[in-house]
Subunit: 401 residues, 2 copies
């Protein structure tokens, strides 16, 4: 069968067969909002995950890293309101205990459960309320939407997708949800992202495709340069769609479909960055290497000055070049071309005349495109970010108080 990918309307993480989810109001931090949820595969899974590169790893990350080792995870407990980070031995004990409660509820081994937390750092989990919440959660076939709501913090809208894939191995679905908003500058992995598929995927290949997809999409998002202690993206593949087993030999399309899902989530996270009014897409071409291109793309997307200028529709392209110059990547100024909203700003290192008012009007849009061609190699990369608004500061000035 020819490879074909179509988005499923209102698709989510429970769109693939055999996945259930649910969420409840456990009052982890606030009353009256969904803040605790479970994602569960009715069938055994192969599974993989990428975790934060921050050396300070939250307790749920440490527990999940351990439980993910065998690649057989089939349930996730997720909460917002408390990150359970910087909580020492008590935090670890708490994270393990909550995994155990979910395992008991579902009748599976504790080591097949991972836990994901997001919220304030440095406070302990309200264990009694979590325990009561786990008991109350009802798992349903369209519970993905509720689960997504339960992991949102300062996100203003849900980030959900599912795609139907037709492929030589059969037909299958990939679903994904994510939370983003702040402390977003992924390193290895990012934020919380949960992926599911009813394809059957060989474990070592699953690990590889997840890493590749995340490296080129979710890891290329930056909102504020701050890498979280709780970043995690996981995938569970339960084979419920009865496909041929996907491996390195027949997995090219699966990789592509997973990239598609992850890129959708990456763009959604960037567009919904704290206080963001615009998505910024930074495309780099002609860098010395792909690594250099990634470095440059992320540096430009993360520059406070570039982000502020774009917020104010100010075509101050010199800041893009200044960010390029400090990225650490190889470059020669005299070869550099810079484009803003497809208009040339700098060619071969020299400024070009442009209509400032006209370009400023072009920047008044939901998506701003920056393109830099270094003309010294074939490395390319794309990164996503958002503008920096007064609202970002307002949100982050009184988060705990």
């Amino acid at each position: 069968m020819k490879y074909k990918i179509t988005e499923i309307k209102q698709g989510t993480v429970t769109s693939p067969q055999g996945f259930l989810a649910g969420a409840t109001e456990a009052a982890v931090k606030y009353k009256g909002r969904l803040d605790l949820g479970i994602l569960y595969s009715e069938k055994p899974c192969t599974s993989a995950a990428v975790f934060t590169g921050n050396k300070v790893k939250a307790a749920p990350i440490l527990v999940s890293m351990k439980n993910m080792e065998k690649g057989k995870v089939r349930a996730i407990l997720a909460n917002s309101g408390c990150a359970n980070a910087c909580t020492g031995d008590k935090g670890l004990k708490d994270a393990n205990e909550t995994a155990g409660l979910v395992a008991a509820k579902l009748g599976i081994p504790r080591t097949q459960v991972i836990v994901a937390s997001t919220g304030v750092i440095g406070t302990n989990m309200p264990l009694k309320r979590i325990e009561a919440g786990i008991g109350k959660i009802i798992l349903t076939k369209d519970g993905g939407h509720k689960l997504e709501k339960a992991i949102m913090t300062t996100d203003t809208r849900p980030k959900e997708i599912a795609v139907k894939v037709t492929d030589s191995v059969g037909q299958y679905v990939i679903g994904g949800i994510a939370k983003g908003a702040g402390m977003i500058h992924p390193n290895m992995a990012t934020l919380l992202g949960f992926l599911t598929t009813d394809a059957s995927v060989e474990i070592s290949f699953l690990r590889k495709v997840l890493k590749t997809a995340v490296d080129n999409t979710i890891n290329m998002v930056t909102i504020d340069g701050d890498t979280s202690t709780n970043d995690m993206v996981s995938i569970m593949a339960n084979g419920a769609a009865d496909t041929e087993e996907i491996t390195g030999k027949n997995g090219k399309n699966f990789q592509e479909a997973l990239n598609y899902v992850c890129q959708f989530l990456a763009r959604s996270i960037a567009a919904d960055g704290e206080g963001a009014t615009k998505l910024i897409e930074v495309s780099i071409e002609g860098a010395k290497s792909a690594t250099d291109a990634k470095k440059i793309a992320r540096t430009i997307a993360g520059s406070s000055l570039v982000k502020s200028a774009i917020h104010g529709n100010d075509p101050n392209w010199g800041r893009i070049v200044a960010a390029l110059g400090r990225s650490g990547a190889a470059m020669e100024e005299k070869y550099v071309d810079v484009f803003l909203q497809d208009g040339p700003m700098m060619r071969q290192g020299s400024p070009l005349p442009f209509d400032k008012n006209k370009l400023s009007r072009k920047l008044k849009t939901g998506e701003v495109k920056i393109r830099v061609c270094l003309n010294i190699g074939s490395g390319k990369a794309v990164a996503w970010g958002c503008d920096l608004s007064q609202e970002y500061v307002t949100i982050n000035s009184d988060y705990t108080t």
Copy 2:
């Protein structure tokens, strides 16, 4: 004589003997403000400078690097309103030409003049107005104050100091001025800083002490993570105070005095960061190495989330630990202690109870102290930054338009 250092009231870069300065309204970008100035030593000098680590170097930087090679610079032309960066060959020609005009005015070789520019990137220098301006500048004994005003951009107040030093080599004065405000994340050098002294200093030692002083002070300031294309700190020593020649053998006190001057400028720059309402001082102790300590101090001082929290008097110390964890430095969470305004927040990796309202009140002050003890080595460092306010975004949303 016993080493003694005292601040001179209203001291500036012309406080040392034999230095003159002046400035004029040249309308580089705006009319009606000082924007072009000259600093000049009546006597020959030894001189040194540190320049931006950004790979995109503005034309004035390239010209100044060349002219500084012999260490005999005795005049500086400085302007605000135009950075003369990303201006290709024309920019270089312009920078050289303006150095030539100053040399002719003062009757010294062109290679003894350096040029420093700050302002918008990507626009050419208004050469005719600069030439007219150079003609108009009158050099006087207290012209340092006017020169400082001429290099300010979004700075809200001048940054000037002079100290009188009594030392075994004799009595001498060190003066300094700086501009800061935005695009401040020094790498090798920073922003514009001009230092003068009437001590006699041997050239190779002068280069060394300048680098050491800048590395530990001005290079430890971060305002927005964006390294400028135009950063430069220079020093001229003209020997007018008739001291013994200062070298590596008798120069310990000179180093200390220069550190004092540079630390004053560093703190002034941080406190007057764009939109800043507070100075943040981050002290790191017990890191594996001094390099690690610097990395951590700068990462914490530069974290948008830490800066926003402090702006809102929010004692959200978890963000400090998250920044520590992503700094790349060696650490073990279980040994880390964190203090905010001298109050313990985290001890040996576990959170401590604290009175949130009381601490929030303590954060309502002009200076916030963060202290982190890693307890795994003897590396220490101090970095300075400022809070992130809505005003920062407002300033940078419409800089060119």
